[in-house]
């Protein structure tokens, strides 16, 4: 008798359990709810991670804010201060509850697919930028092809070292866009049998770590010909080690990002090539896409919402900036 209640409770509990849907094919919900809304009431929210990173602040966020001012709508930037994908997901989930006009999401990790779908299902126009998220049903994506970044670096490096010598490269290991970049680099280099790749290293997104790896690399291979970097901090890190070894210009350096620090290093000849993303375009056009979805700027049917039509480009490759000694002055402010 005394077990009756627990068993009953358990049975009820299990009975009322609701499993998640098997496959992710919920009917496409209506998006856009424009019309009646006043434009001042519109709010576009951007959710990123590591939002205090200077590059994010100077490029992505500044362009997004500039867009907000030009359009006269409210824009908000949210996200954890550190690189914390679960926290980004949590914030997106909480933002969905507040029903913003549009959601601009930094595609940090494939794991955010679910929450993107949740936003889409909630009827919020959703655009992803930077890295594309597989299995997510966002309305548009803007970003860079990382394979191309690797390829651009590889081709320039081959030219710089005349097709022979030792090369090392580094980035944040474990990030899928970096891995794509590495692949692009290796695919170029494999055509040159005289080039020896001496190692792939984890810069852990830190200048110090990148500098340490580079100086170890230079010590172990005094004849190293070039080093490639795939994350922002690795540029200054590699440059520091090369300068300290007194091999400025002898060891060729190609890396990513066009921050002021990188540009200066390129100008003084420590770095030979910067393959930079057009990050401003990610958020500017990302926001514009959201706006165009909401306002149905270019209707493609009698009613795009009912027809299930998204009236903006689905996949945009913003292309790369190729910054070398020749054009660097145009990127330096003042």
């Amino acid at each position: 008798m005394r077990y009756c209640i627990p068993i009953l409770t358990l049975a009820l509990t299990l009975g009322s359990c609701e499993l998640p849907p098997r496959n992710d094919t919920i009917s496409k919900n209506q998006t856009g709810k424009a019309e009646a809304q006043e434009i001042e009431d519109e709010e576009y929210v951007m959710v990123s991670t590591a939002i205090t990173m200077p590059m994010y602040m100077n490029r992505d966020q500044r362009a997004f804010k500039r867009w907000g001012e030009k359009m006269g709508v409210k824009v908000s930037i949210l996200g954890p201060a550190d690189w914390d994908v679960p926290a980004q997901i949590n914030i997106i989930e909480e933002v969905i509850g507040t029903r913003p006009t549009g959601l601009l999401i930094n595609g940090t990790d494939p794991a955010i697919a679910q929450v993107i779908n949740k936003a889409v299902d909630a009827g919020i126009p959703t655009v992803v930028y930077d890295s594309n998220i597989p299995n997510a049903r966002h309305h548009a994506f803007l970003g860079t092809d990382w394979y191309e970044i690797g390829k651009m670096q590889g081709e320039e490096m081959v030219r710089l070292i005349n097709g022979k010598g030792k090369i090392g490269y580094m980035g944040i290991l474990g990030m899928s866009n970096m891995e794509a970049g590495f692949q692009g680099l290796l695919d170029v280099l494999k055509n040159y049998p005289d080039i020896e790749v001496v190692g792939k290293f984890d810069s852990k997104a830190s200048v110090e770590q990148a500098a340490r790896i580079s100086s170890d690399l230079i010590a172990a291979h005094p004849d190293i010909a070039g080093i490639c970097g795939f994350d922002g901090p690795s540029g200054p890190g590699i440059a520091l080690a090369v300068k300290e070894a007194g091999k400025t210009g002898k060891i060729k350096v190609t890396t990513v990002d066009g921050e002021p620090e990188h540009l200066q290093l390129l100008k003084d000849g420590t770095i030979q090539l910067l393959a930079a993303q057009k990050r401003e375009l990610f958020t500017w056009y990302g926001a514009q896409f959201l706006y165009d979805i909401v306002h149905q700027t270019n209707p493609l049917s009698n009613n795009d919402t009912k027809a299930g039509v998204t009236s903006v480009p689905y996949h945009v490759n913003t292309g790369l900036l190729r910054i070398t000694k020749e054009n660097v002055d145009n990127f330096i402010n003042e």
Binding site: P20, E94, P110, A113
Partner: protein, 316 residues
């Protein structure tokens, strides 16, 4: 009544939470006091709370564990690795994942309790080791986890997502254990005076070690739940979690010197931080401010606490 509120952090925190919720409901009537928002908020803090329960236990005994955040990542990654790369069945993979976190806790506990290594240094070192292991196992993260694994964290019961239930069960279980079993009561004595506890016949080293094992196991459960909820195991999961959890637990009434604290305090501390973060999201306070505000709140709470207690005992 007033005295009880001042003396017991649980009650003062509860009172503060009610005030905050009322103010937030009046300020954001359409977005804050909704079922959707609250279930989301609870879901988001469920992982932290499960870890916080273990941390509370450790802080009661006068120790703490900085490796829990890494253990969260490791547990998710190793379980995911076993399921996807090695095709091991879900229950077996979960068992193995939990066992491995128990091992981590055992190593921490053994070296701290028996070999006298400082808990901060030991768990700091373990934090790095375990995070590295998680990165090695999962690379850029493991996606496409098996359906039944995802069901653990994504199912709903009575309209509420499972991690919230797991959190409530954990809090209830440990509240019961700490109040009602003599084994767990020993943690209060160890935190109160470790030497006196030893001379009173408490096997301080054994019990302390078990504290680290429990803490790591709870972090392991949290990690598996988190990756099940995300449908992916990321090596970056649980970054900074250790400090967030310690903050929550201290808000919830624990003291770094040990001897104080109640398990529900862990939930309330996490709830407090969750609600503050939620209000900041709703009011669109930029992320730069979040940590600053949380830091100020922590210092403010502790200072107020000291001031109130001083004034109160002064009047006595």
């Amino acid at each position: 009544m007033v005295r009880k509120i001042i003396e017991e952090r649980i009650y003062s925190l509860l009172a503060l939470l009610v005030v905050i919720c009322v103010v937030a409901s009046l300020t954001f009537p359409s977005t804050f006091p909704t079922f959707e928002n609250f279930s989301q908020l609870l879901l988001n803090l469920s992982i932290d709370t499960i870890v916080a329960v273990g941390m509370m236990l450790l802080l009661i005994s006068g120790a703490f564990d900085l490796s829990v955040g890494s253990v969260v990542a490791f547990a998710g990654c190793i379980t995911a690795y076993l399921m996807t790369s090695l095709q091991i069945p879900v229950p077996l993979a979960i068992t193995f994942g939990l066992l491995s976190t128990i091992c981590i806790g055992y190593i921490n506990g053994y070296l701290i309790a028996y070999k006298g290594i400082n808990p901060m240094i030991q768990t700091l070192a373990m934090m790095g080791i375990v995070r590295g292991a998680a990165l090695m196992l999962s690379g850029s993260g493991v996606q496409n986890l098996p359906y039944w694994f995802n069901a653990i964290g994504q199912s709903k019961l009575l309209g509420i997502q499972m991690p919230i239930w797991y959190m409530l069960v954990t809090v209830a279980l440990f509240t019961f254990l700490l109040n009602k079993t003599i084994y767990f009561r020993q943690y209060y004595y160890i935190g109160g005076n470790e030497k006196a506890a030893d001379l009173s016949g408490i096997r301080v080293d054994k019990v302390k070690m078990m504290g680290f094992v429990i803490s790591a196991a709870l972090a392991g459960i949290a990690g598996i739940l988190l990756s099940s909820r995300l449908g992916a195991a990321l090596p970056t999961m649980g970054r900074g979690l250790e400090l967030r959890v310690i903050t929550a637990v201290i808000l919830g009434g624990a003291s770094l010197s040990g001897g104080y604290g109640k398990i529900p305090g862990a939930l309330l501390g996490a709830l407090f931080m969750g609600i503050v973060a939620n209000i900041m999201v709703i009011s669109r306070v930029s992320g730069y401010w979040q940590e600053i505000i949380l830091g100020i709140i922590l210092i403010g709470t502790l200072w107020l606490d000291k001031a109130l207690q001083k004034q109160y005992s002064g009047r006595k």
